[in-house]
Symmetry: C2
Subunit: 332 residues, 2 copies
């Protein structure tokens, strides 16, 4: 639970996901039991794969993560993390307070062996195909070796879950030359470059995101979060603007306006975060999928399918194998 | 000189600007004299306010700034900075290699008294009116007091040149709460907050840029540059995408396509950087306007008018007065 329209979208999205899961899969809905049951009663699909675990507290979107976890041990987020840590579930998904969810899961699930700091891998839809940006906001005090590990973890994620062979990795900077950017970026560039297992294309600029320059874009969590929120704010703003202009120009011809709306709608769909469902926290000791508070039912369904794919492709096992190999060879 | 289409746009833009300047103003075109004369011969407007200073070297867009200034003392950028330092001109404008232009002018003109580090003030057009972002890319290793001074300098710029009374200042972070973000952002928040002469609305997020939340957005030069280039890449990409969709949907009705193109064109115009001409380096000991390499004639004309306005409103004098006052009171 936890989205802006909880529990409706979680319940409907979960029921819709059931049809696409295997017989031995179960979806556990964690939250206010009566509310979930009420929402389930409105669903038409089969509910045999659904279980409910009651959680009687709720962490608001603006509550302090650490403080709220301390005072609300029975919040759906805390219970979710606890269930995962106990092995009762194999993955957890939430559209609630992101900071609280990341804190709770890091606290309960720790890090995968070999990982210095987890990072969020956010899929950005572009006209040239999806790009994974890492870190999208988990790590505000990045070191070069964190960025180096993000390059590796996001590459594994891109390759296994999205089937992109040998993903091209770009390091976000303010120019293509190696010496451009901050001390952090320069040091990370050096670390990533010397690892021949990474298909590193060098520094990239933010505008390259939309030009198909790379499949993975690495940056610190502050910059990543600024990028994600800017794309969100701008795509909405620009499209609204064009629609307004179209409206003014087509007042006398409604059929024309319809066509124009469809064109803008198609573009909006390309950039719709619901297409990808959610973003995994790469490097945490479990499967943790963060969802947007405004996720739709489709978004929730896709988040479940993403978690499923993430488990099936053994992403975490691959990350640990790769990064403990680094430990042995002295890299990172 | 120095734009992608130099010297044509500089010459045409300069001649067009003449008509809007006072009788005692002069525009000095610095670059290859024969090429400039050839371009001037094609212009119809009066050229009595135009002078030419010959510079026989050219710094390419991808040359190393410091190295190129050393080896090319007769480049238009080096000559421009020298002319300004000697007092032969009151402002300099270039669409050439940004790094070289910033380096040359900082080297020759130094900083205004009281300023720790200059920052670029970039005007971002939005539906809710323009927002100045500072720093747009001059300072890659910002300290809290640099961000604090950017808040002051950009406020003065916004108030004098754009006539926005008491501009609202936001500090770019990953959440509105004071404790969100990096150590740098938290420390800068504290510094800006305690100065009651700044209309500080607190932390803002990148998506707020398009919601009219603030008139000035403060951030470090790395983040600022990422933001600017992302907006540039995305506005182009999104609009191209919508146009493509419209094309597919309107193949049978050309008049409809025309209307759609007009709507998208209006939006593109709103976001066109040429509307603002260029971006001043705030805090440098002179008037230095950076232009986009792809500037049009209109962009060059607007850059000249911006420099003129900047001089007329005594922006630099106000900055020095304000920041040396800080020195006396122990702020900053």
């Amino acid at each position: 639970m936890g989205s802006d329209r909880a529990p409706a979208v979680e319940v409907e999205g979960g029921v819709a996901a059931c049809a696409q899961l295997s017989d031995d899969d179960t979806i556990v809905l964690v939250g206010n039991k009566p509310a979930i049951q009420k929402a389930l009663a409105r669903q038409k699909g089969p509910q045999d794969k659904i279980e409910i675990v009651h959680a009687n507290q709720r962490i608001g979107m603006n509550e302090s993560p650490v403080e709220s976890l301390r005072t609300k041990p029975n919040s759906s987020i805390a219970v979710l993390a606890q269930l995962h840590a106990e092995g009762a579930i194999e993955a957890c998904i939430s559209a609630g307070n992101t900071g609280a969810f990341v804190s709770a899961t890091q606290m309960r699930l720790r890090r995968l062996r070999g990982v210095h700091r987890p990072g969020v891998g956010i899929m950005i839809p572009t006209l040239h195909g999806p790009v994974v940006l890492c870190d999208g906001g988990a790590n505000m005090s990045c070191r070069p070796r964190h960025l180096y590990q993000y390059a590796i973890m996001a590459s594994i994620y891109m390759e296994t879950v999205y089937g992109v062979k040998n993903p091209r990795v770009g390091l976000l900077s303010v120019g293509e030359e190696d010496e451009k950017g901050t001390d952090l970026v320069r040091a990370a560039n050096g670390l990533i470059k010397r690892d021949s297992s990474i298909y590193f294309i060098g520094n990239v600029e933010s505008r390259d995101l939309f030009h198909g320059a790379c499949d993975v874009m690495v940056c610190d969590g502050f910059v990543g979060n600024v990028v994600i929120k800017l794309i969100e704010g701008m795509s909405g703003g620009l499209i609204r603007d064009i629609l307004n202009n179209l409206k003014d120009l087509t007042t006398s011809t409604p059929e024309l306006r319809q066509i124009a709306m469809r064109a803008a709608g198609q573009t909006l769909e390309t950039y719709d975060f619901n297409q990808h469902g959610g973003a995994p926290v790469l490097g945490v000791g479990g499967i943790v999928i963060l969802c947007h508070g405004a996720n739709s039912c489709l978004g929730m369904t896709n988040a479940v399918l993403l978690a499923h794919k993430y488990a099936r492709h053994k992403v975490n096992q691959r990350i640990t194998e790769r990064l403990t190999q680094d430990e042995r060879t002295g890299n990172g």
